[in-house]
């Protein structure tokens, strides 16, 4: 199956085209920037920084995060399809992929928490420990993804 993917025309085009790979990488870079920074902004707000931003207005940042995640999945797939067999054999990549899955699930749960609880946080002027724990875990996982990606680039077999 993976070998079949690797032999498709699409895979060959991205691999060999002058612009395919760099273009996908560039999109991937924008997605990284938005996911990491917006989760960080929300996280720091919940930790007590940037106190002028109302908790309820943080909801507005989620559409950007979802859009960025879609960009990541698409551009990530495009990058992966060039050499799926090698990626799957690389321990660093498998770890990163698992972290991405965990990160996405955490972000979704955290989003549901903030949608439900933001108004009550605003009313009593503090965040539930559940909210803080969620955002800390989400942030930790996404930052690990970035570090793992650098390790794959420099240490791995790819």
């Amino acid at each position: 199956m993976l070998e079949w993917l690797e032999n498709t025309q699409a895979s060959a085009w991205i691999r060999n085209d002058l612009w395919g790979w760099p273009l996908a990488l560039t999109f991937h870079a924008f997605g990284t920037a938005l996911v990491i920074s917006f989760i960080l902004i929300i996280g720091l707000r919940l930790f007590g920084f940037f106190n002028l931003i109302p908790y309820t207005s943080l909801k507005r940042l989620f559409p950007v995060i979802w859009a960025a995640l879609v960009v990541q999945i698409l551009s990530g797939f495009v990058l992966w399809i060039t050499k799926p067999t090698q990626y799957v054999a690389d321990g660093g990549f498998v770890l990163k992929f698992l972290l991405v899955v965990v990160g996405a699930i955490l972000t979704l749960f955290f989003y549901r928490t903030i949608m439900r609880e933001a108004a009550s946080w605003e009313a009593r002027g503090g965040v539930s420990s559940r909210g803080v724990a969620f955002v800390a875990a989400t942030l930790f996982v996404w930052c690990s993804v970035v570090i793992a990606s650098r390790l794959i680039a420099h240490l791995g077999s790819i």
Binding site: F38, I41, I147
Partner: protein, 471 residues
């Protein structure tokens, strides 16, 4: 090392760039004074225009002195000297006329006990023309000595474009001479306790510090442009360049500290409603120390390609592998160091782009549930990102600077966009109208344009940065 000039040529190259850089900064303050209606700032500018005019006397005298001293030297072309002389005379005449007009206005307003004006925009007009002419004169002055700029030797994939050397010569004067004027304004502002001038000086410190980044990059590129391949008839020592680069590293950190302190105060004063006197003094102290580093850096830079100012007593470095810069290059070539700093660089660009994107969301009206002041708090993340990436970027460039500058067509635009993006962000801390935008309100149109520019500039930085290895 002799910092005090001991020849006419040395004195001339030391003071001759002050009018052009000074005019830019004083004109900036002058326009700010007109817009804010601050008579004190306006009078200070008029005084300084006069001082710049007085400076034309030693510039003229030292210029004539250098002409006499260098006339027998075959290194310098008579034609280039004469062209520079003609344009220089016109420039100095207009600088002098602008200074006289400024002082006449100062004297008239003082006698009539009224606020200073500018009848027929005479001072504004004359100083603007003077600025244009001094830039032309500077350019023609560099042509006399810097023959490498006209070098036609260009080997594909080997020669670094001489445009980098040219850019370095222009850029390095902006922080150096710029800090002299910024410090003068800043001390005046502190003594007179003038808020407009304090804010203006802090802004100039930030801008000059940001320009330190392209100066350093262009300098690194200029090193390759001058040494690989060597330029015939111009003797350049890599060891002397390394001495200059080591001092430039100190300058880069000095600029980072001063620029950061100044930016933090601009940012923080928004919430406190005033400047912190202690912090302002910290900025002044850092600026003075940085100016010291820059003076020595500039002097060492001058020694690279100005044999006419060297003295027999000067001992120049001879070991091209000595010093911090060479050591850093060797360290950064190791994969563990490079990968670690690249990871820092990645987190840094996330912070910058996130802050720029959040600012754009709010100012363009997609995140109106927060006030502008609330979003403004987030800019500190972008600031931390810029600091992280200036340091990590500098180190990564040192790992293989030749490769970055020789063939990468994306590197120069990336650096230019960093400068534009970083300077444009300062606008968010300066605009009073924007500051008052509450939750639910629309931002002014001018701010929207700036937000778009900030976003596009940083997006461009990421695009060129990510494409770098492929271009």
């Amino acid at each position: 090392m002799h910092l005090i000039p001991q020849s006419w040529s040395h004195l001339h190259i030391l003071i001759s760039v002050f009018p052009s850089v000074g005019l830019v900064i004083v004109l900036g303050f002058y326009i700010a004074a007109i817009r804010t209606g601050s008579d004190f700032v306006r009078r200070t500018c008029l005084v300084l225009f006069g001082f710049l005019a007085l400076l034309s006397v030693p510039i003229y005298v030292s210029g004539i002195g250098s002409m006499a001293a260098l006339s027998a030297n075959p290194r310098f072309s008579k034609d280039a000297i004469n062209t520079h002389y003609d344009w220089g005379m016109v420039a100095l005449a207009i600088v002098a006329a602008a200074g006289i007009a400024a002082w006449v206005e100062l004297w008239r307003s003082w006698r009539a006990c009224r606020t200073s004006g500018d009848p027929f925009h005479l001072v504004l007009g004359l100083t603007t023309v003077a600025l244009g002419l001094t830039i032309v004169a500077d350019e023609l002055g560099w042509k006399i000595n810097h023959r490498e700029l006209q070098s036609v030797i260009s080997i594909t994939d080997v020669s670094t474009p001489q445009a980098w050397s040219h850019a370095h010569i222009i850029l390095n004067h902006i922080p150096t001479a710029g800090y002299v004027f910024a410090i003068a304004f800043f001390i005046t502002a502190l003594v007179a306790n003038n808020e407009v001038m304090k804010r203006g000086s802090l802004t100039v410190f930030v801008i000059c510090s940001i320009i330190g980044v392209p100066t350093y990059v262009a300098g690194t590129a200029a090193m390759w442009a001058l040494t690989q391949p060597p330029i015939p008839d111009i003797e350049i020592s890599k060891a002397v360049i390394n001495g200059h680069r080591d001092m430039a590293l100190w300058t880069l950190f000095g600029l980072a500290f001063t620029g950061s302190a100044a930016w933090i105060e601009l940012w923080r004063s928004r919430y406190r409603g005033r400047f912190s006197p202690v912090w302002l003094n910290v900025v002044l102290l850092l600026a003075l120390v940085t100016l010291g580093f820059m003076t020595e850096t500039g002097h060492r830079g001058g020694l690279i390609n100005h044999p006419e100012i060297r003295l027999p007593a000067d001992i120049l470095p001879t070991d091209e592998n000595a010093g911090i810069s060479a050591a850093l290059e060797a360290t950064m070539k190791q994969m563990a160091w490079f990968a670690s700093w690249q990871t820092v660089h990645f987190f840094g660009y996330c912070l910058i782009f996130g802050a720029a994107f959040a600012a754009a969301l709010r100012v363009l009206g997609f995140w109106k549930s927060a006030s502008f002041a609330a979003m403004h708090q987030l800019l500190v993340l972008g600031f931390i990102g810029v600091l992280m990436n200036v340091v990590s970027g500098m180190l990564m460039m040192l790992s293989d600077s030749y490769r970055y500058v020789v063939g990468d067509i994306g590197f120069a635009p990336k650096i230019a966009l960093i400068v534009i993006g970083a300077i444009a962000i300062v606008y968010f801390s300066l605009s009073d109208r924007l500051w008052k935008v509450k939750a639910g309100e629309d931002a002014p149109a001018a701010a929207k344009w700036v937000a778009v520019m900030v976003l596009l500039a940083w997006a461009g930085v990421i695009v060129f940065g990510r494409l770098l290895p492929f271009l």
